[in-house]
Symmetry: C3
Subunit: 662 residues, 3 copies
């Protein structure tokens, strides 16, 4: 037997104590083994300054633990109590327009507030001292969803003071800052760090280096805030892994950097809101309305597996409609099962559903759970039971193997794009997902890596938006013998957010004999054409003029610089000089796969495949039944050859069916 | 002779005194009998603190009254003078973002300011003492257009203090508030009412109960502000009815509740701005650009007739293009006449035009009047004269009879939808108007009622958006023997803005054996299909999964929970489990009419019919001539059988022509 | 030899001093004769309060000057240093929402700050004292781009105080202000100028006169701020012309008024951003994406030639992609040459490119220059060289001749439209450009004039949006014998922003026996039809009902006031009673040209023609080659008869080819 460990998020403080024991028993009967609690319980734990009420939490841990559940205990710092806010109003975050963001929801704190750091450490210490060695407590979560509600960036006096200190540490002298920020421009010179301001409410854009430094600083504040809690827990609760639950699509802080301080990564999986707010055009959003973007969730599993250095959990799995998106459709029946198996197939060790029972009150009362508010089972309850049953058929499976293809996600490069977008309409997060999807639609596994990662063992590296390419990383790629495909803007900014000497692509020039002599951002009502052999492919939003002595693999068509290189390269590296919509990108990516000798399959349409050990999993995101590309002699462990909508199949058999890779 | 009494809004303070007598004489000659004055005259009445200048107003009342006009005198509290704002800046309202909203236009006061309540009472007393028993003063209007410019909701310190008091009165103990608001969620617990804040500038949404309570509180503040004025006037001006002029489509306060303190309701009729900012798709907005939404104005007549417990006036009737909409087209010639007769047909006793003479200065100089700024007649002047002439042909008509169908409008339910919309794009005001229109397009009269109303005598009650359904009301409906059709979300929230025990539809479950096990909000790019017999009808925006033992009358089609009930019910009650655009709604409504035994006609297209006494009125909103569905022997009192665009007809004859109700 | 003098914008403070001499030599070798410097150099000139560092600037002027370049020196007041902001935070501008706009970019000053006026005068004096008589300094620019980043309108305490003073001076008594603003409306009366507030953060719109006065005041503040600098420079630097570099499409201050204090006008030419943010529908924006609106740049040359009373420079010419628009495409190769010749053909004496070398740092690092950041030539460098070579073929040309047609641009009328738009979607700047383009597409030269201008010598005057028509101007037009075509709204507001006595068109009624009895603004989803003879023309957005005894030349069609005059007039004046899209406007404008006896050609499509002296210039803005309408015997000085895309031709020959004017 295999399959993920299963768990659930539970809020004893929200229910009458008389329900706890039965809830715990039902969780265990369903097959759950983990339960996450207490991430918003500060006001119940410490209802008045220094007055702690541990009794209820003691009993809750005992009830859950003695029923056989392993408790993931959370630090409650995502929601400080009202009395704390009233004692210290300076802990509140400040919005970009200067407005203080008040108590009444959650995440009402500024990461830079020294007072809040003290208080967060104090409550973390208190909780960890009491439960650190409790045998039922088997793991920890710090805080909750850093970055939610745009709270990483605070414009408070505390943030200003901390930013100045951060700049002092980074630059040493004000002269170095002046050079980096280019303050000879627009008379912006500083003579002292104490003159620096936060980059909000300016008359016009700040220096992009000013902005990038503020984004870096803000990310560092999250990391140090988190690290303080991890340190306390590690000391007081030895042997229990510490994690944090990341959010899909948030890039306000460096997830890799925070991940270095954790024992494993976890993330919160809400595919339908992700679709509605995501990259796809409306026709595709309609097609996948109740199944989600076929690639976004997988992308994040692969990302957080990297963030957790191989270990990843789903801390919150969407169980049905949620409450927070601009539209909140229901998943197609079967999708909770599908998402659970998808997580497992992508290497997740544990999947915890959010939440056990739907709340009948407060902000999230339209967020479903495994149970309705009246404790009757909702759809997801039955699908979890199905997963538990199906897991019996699976053999033990090894950890996920390294893929042959990796895609680089670099948070500082995202901030660079944010600081200097050079036109509206280019979303780097969408670009990276389009690249990932182009490979995945052809059945190719893709790992996500950072520039700090070891590229050894990859045949092909995809670098769709590596604006701040690092020479060290490029050197390691070269040493590893991997081929690499760069997207436009790669290498175009130094760490100081400047144009590199000798122009873009800066450090890539050690691999590619080229330079970018011009960039253009283009409005949505204009498209370019790229000729790749006989194929006329669309390009949009961004075009570069490249001068090169490398082989030109594709060119721009038309009478504006027609014939200018659109794709070029050598045997180690290629460079794509434009953004492309998916239909343009697919042949570029499959061409790169051929180049790297990575096998791929014909476009899988609504199906996605992935492997774990000897088992291949297939998932159908479309509205129609589809045939799994399983080999003739495949032994089906889950499902069968024909996948209904929302269907899952898993089979053993080392080769794949259908037209093989070319 | 019959027809509405006619009047006009006049501003003696804006014109040289030498014009008054001639103006009054021309009003009388035109056939007007009422004149409303002084709602923005505070600065003229009291040009400096405590220094009153009554002379001009004494003379104005005398000139108008002695010419034969009945004066509607207003309290001037909608626009406090600059000196008062400078003396007491704390009377200014505060916007949701915390900005103080300054002097320079109108409605620059906070309903919660104790200082402004004193001042408003003082000036009301002064005006009522001077004119309360003046024989020319025959009615009163309090303030002007409560709710305009988003001024019901103020975030001032005074509002905060009053809100805390209101909560103390509502909940008694902080524990009760904590339970109602669900503050065990997100660590939001309060230990004292003094900790509560206004629900603005939070990091994320507040508890929906927090928000609903603020909306209720704000509505109550309007009511008590108004009631104070009414009390003063009643004491000092016996025998004169007191009214207030409501605005179309405003739901920021409970119009029924304020109406309980008035002698009659009045409202301000601006159909073209209402169209431009209203519910219809663009093609329909283009079709009715110069005639207005064929149902919106009638809906409001029916609403305010209920608010006024049978008595309704039009205080301001659009006379031509106005100045305040995003586009300000001219009414088609004839529409001022049409709107006047429409008001009368729907039971209005008096129609007062806004305004006598177009102002050549200040904010509304593009707002037309009966006269041009140079005192020459504008189009509306001639149309008023036509109405006066036509009224000769009409017999005296009784008050409007009770309809057989009623539609429930519940303000707290609107606030519930606002506090917890569960997705964008569902406008309850549009939904209710769509339901009303579906009946009206089939020639059926519809009364508007509230949950406090007596449902006795209705055959069918339409409840399109009764989120906070009240068990008492439902009991009265049952006792009255009326059938009732509920829309989705009905009964889904308790008075504490929580999910009812046993799930939605909460109190409806006493009438319907069902529960709603899931709700979905849907984006605009997706549509559902509902099968009603052989009819495939569109549904959109909102879909529910219902478990029921009742008869299922229509089901959702398709492979996502296909066959799930879309319309269900028994002989007393039906429940529609989705939102539907008009083309989907029509068969549902006509089906309900058949069920209730209410006769209806084929779709009237651009024509609308209504009856008062034995007279049937017909109105043509379309661009083409149309035939009135009058019986063969109808005796035409106004117009004839063929209605030109903007045409009006009225005939005697008890049965209607054309295909009769089935 | 002829052609414009050429120059470049240079920032010695941004480059290592070792580069200066070579840069200067290359400029000279390229054929440049002017160089603009130091407009953002305050922090380098005065790095600490009162401590001046002149050395670098002395050397820069010397290096550039001794290489043979004439220096345009700038006052550095567009970007005060941080130490000055810290010493006097009250110099910062305040946004309309009340937010102080901070240091960190540029233009961070309030025009009304007395402190900043002192400081600006002090630094201007210091710079002018040091360089006023330097032989290399041959011209001056004040500040930089007044109006950029919405900085003309500041809502600071200083602005409030100055506004009150300005009102005192304008009105003398508060009674006069009350009458002008119409404060009998909405109880807005003032008893003292000290009660007046700035028109921001009100509950609803202020009196339009209040707003127009604030707009006028703000414009006057710019003028007096600029005039102070001009006075200092004139005294200390005799014989050098003083200019300012205006921005395309900015109407926040009266450019003519500021121009009266200058020796010549200059402006900054960025056609592609102008296109992207401009008037054209998307299909046309796509067509001209890399060439720009064929008429917008020419319009501005003609405008600023008037502002400079005949003398106009281009101070900043776009050399390639820029950084600041919502999309930043590259110009088609050849466009920098085209724009340079266009400027010359429209009378510009000098064209200076922005900038010499692209910056590798700070806000504008994606703004191209003549050189790449690594000093290699970019595309524009080569195109400048081509212009220099081509100029050899040209004979000396006289100043641009007066056209036979003039278009009136009146800044106060624009402010009137802004204060009282009466609906969304009518952009007067777009309307005026549409009128200009309609003539230009037919090969007709158009001068831009103001109401202060002398209309002598014009055959036809176009007045598309002369809301605040001035009786004096109209009298001079009549005296000059010019015919005049007015657009809708002309003469509709007095100087007090009121409806004129006898209604619109107010002072026009001395020329036209008409009055406007009704105006309508229309939404984008509705169109009107105008019959001009047999032609059915579209009208949109604005329609007027006119009563007239003049000849009716076109009428509105349809059943809403069908037959109502749409175009009417006599032998001196015509009035167009609607807004029209270009396809409707063309026949109206050609009809007016015929009426005035001005010859015109068939629609030139993508080609534009203009003349200077005996030379005709032709420019191709389209994607296809086109034939220049040159006479048979034309002698081509630049280019040839067939114009490629982005092509320029110039020929001698007095008559034009093709179908002649009718």
């Amino acid at each position: 037997m295999s399959g993920p460990a299963l768990g659930v998020c539970y809020y004893p403080e929200q229910w009458d104590e008389s329900l706890w024991a039965e809830d715990a028993a039902r969780m265990v009967a369903l097959g759950l083994t983990w339960v996450r609690i207490a991430e918003f319980a500060w006001a119940r734990i410490e209802p008045a300054p220094g007055r702690f009420d541990w009794g209820w939490l003691d009993r809750a841990v005992e009830v859950l633990g003695s029923a056989g559940l392993k408790v993931i205990l959370c630090t409650p710092t995502a929601a400080p109590p009202k009395w704390l806010v009233d004692l210290h109003p300076d802990i509140l975050p400040v919005a970009a327009d200067g407005t203080v963001r008040k108590f009444g929801a959650r995440r009402h704190y500024c990461f830079s507030s020294p007072r809040y750091r003290e208080e967060a450490a104090r409550i973390t210490r208190a909780v960890a001292e009491r439960y650190g060695r409790n045998p039922h407590v088997q793991a920890w979560q710090t805080d909750n969803e850093y970055g939610d509600h745009d709270t990483v960036h605070s414009y408070s006096p505390a943030a200003l003071a901390a930013f100045r200190d951060w700049l002092r540490a980074r630059y040493g002298t004000i002269g170095a800052l002046n050079r980096a920020w280019g303050t000879s421009f627009w008379s912006m010179a500083y003579s002292d760090f104490g003159q620096i301001e936060l980059p909000n409410n300016l008359v016009e854009e700040p220096s992009p280096t000013h902005r990038v430094d503020f984004l870096r600083f803000s990310s560092d504040q999250v990391r140090s805030f988190n690290r303080a809690q991890v340190g306390i827990i590690r000391r007081l609760s030895p042997g229990r892994p510490v994690t944090h639950n990341y959010m899909n699509q948030n890039t306000d802080f460096d997830h890799f950097a925070v991940g270095e301080d954790l024992d494993l990564a976890s993330w919160d999986v809400y595919p339908l809101g992700g679709l509605v707010h995501g990259r796809l055009p409306e026709a595709m959003k309609a097609r996948y309305l109740r199944t989600g973007d076929p690639d976004q969730t997988a992308f994040n599993h692969d990302l957080y597996r990297a963030v957790g250095r191989g270990r990843v959990w789903v801390m919150e799995q969407q169980p049905g409609p949620v409450n927070w998106a601009v539209a909140n459709p229901a998943p197609r029946d079967g999708m909770v099962r599908l998402w659970t198996w998808l997580a497992f197939a992508h290497g997740c060790e544990m999947v915890s559903y959010f939440r056990w029972r739907q709340a009948p009150f407060a902000q999230e009362q339209y967020h479903t759970g495994l149970l309705h508010p009246d404790s009757t089972p909702d759809q997801a309850f039955h699908e979890v039971a199905a997963v538990v049953a199906e897991a019996q058929a699976l053999p033990p499976l090894p950890p996920r193997a390294q893929a042959r293809v990796a895609l680089v996600l670099d948070y500082p490069s995202r901030w660079a794009g944010q600081a200097l977008p050079q036109g509206q309409g280019c979303n780097p997060a969408h670009v990276a997902l389009d690249w990932y999807a182009a490979a995945r639609r052809h059945g190719v596994e893709v790992d996500i890596i950072g520039q700090h990662s070891d590229p050894e063992g990859y045949d092909l590296i995809l670098a769709p938006d590596l604006i701040m390419a690092d020479a060290g990383f490029l050197g390691r790629v070269k040493a590893a013998g991997a081929k690499i495909l760069f997207g436009p803007r790669s290498g175009s900014k130094t760490a100081e957010m400047q144009t590199p000497e000798g122009l873009a692509p800066g450090p890539l020039r050690a691999m590619l004999d080229m330079r970018v002599s011009r960039v253009e951002s283009l409005p949505g009502y204009h498209a370019e054409t790229v000729m790749l052999g006989n194929l006329a492919l669309p390009a949009h939003r961004w075009r570069e003029t490249v001068e090169t002595r490398e082989e030109v693999l594709a060119t721009f068509a038309g009478d504006h610089r027609g014939g200018s290189p659109a794709l070029l390269g050598n045997d180690r590296a290629r460079y794509l000089a434009a953004l492309m919509p998916p239909e343009g990108l697919l042949p570029v990516i499959t061409g790169a796969l051929d180049w790297a000798g990575v096998a791929w399959q014909p476009d899988l349409g609504d199906i996605r495949l992935t492997r774990r050990g000897e088992v291949t999993f297939a998932f159908n995101y479309g509205p129609d039944p589809a045939t799994a590309p399983a080999p003739a002699g495949a032994r089906f462990l889950i499902g069968g050859r024909v996948l209904p909508p929302a269907g899952v199949a898993a089979w053993e058999g080392s080769e794949r069916a259908g037209p093989e890779a070319r």
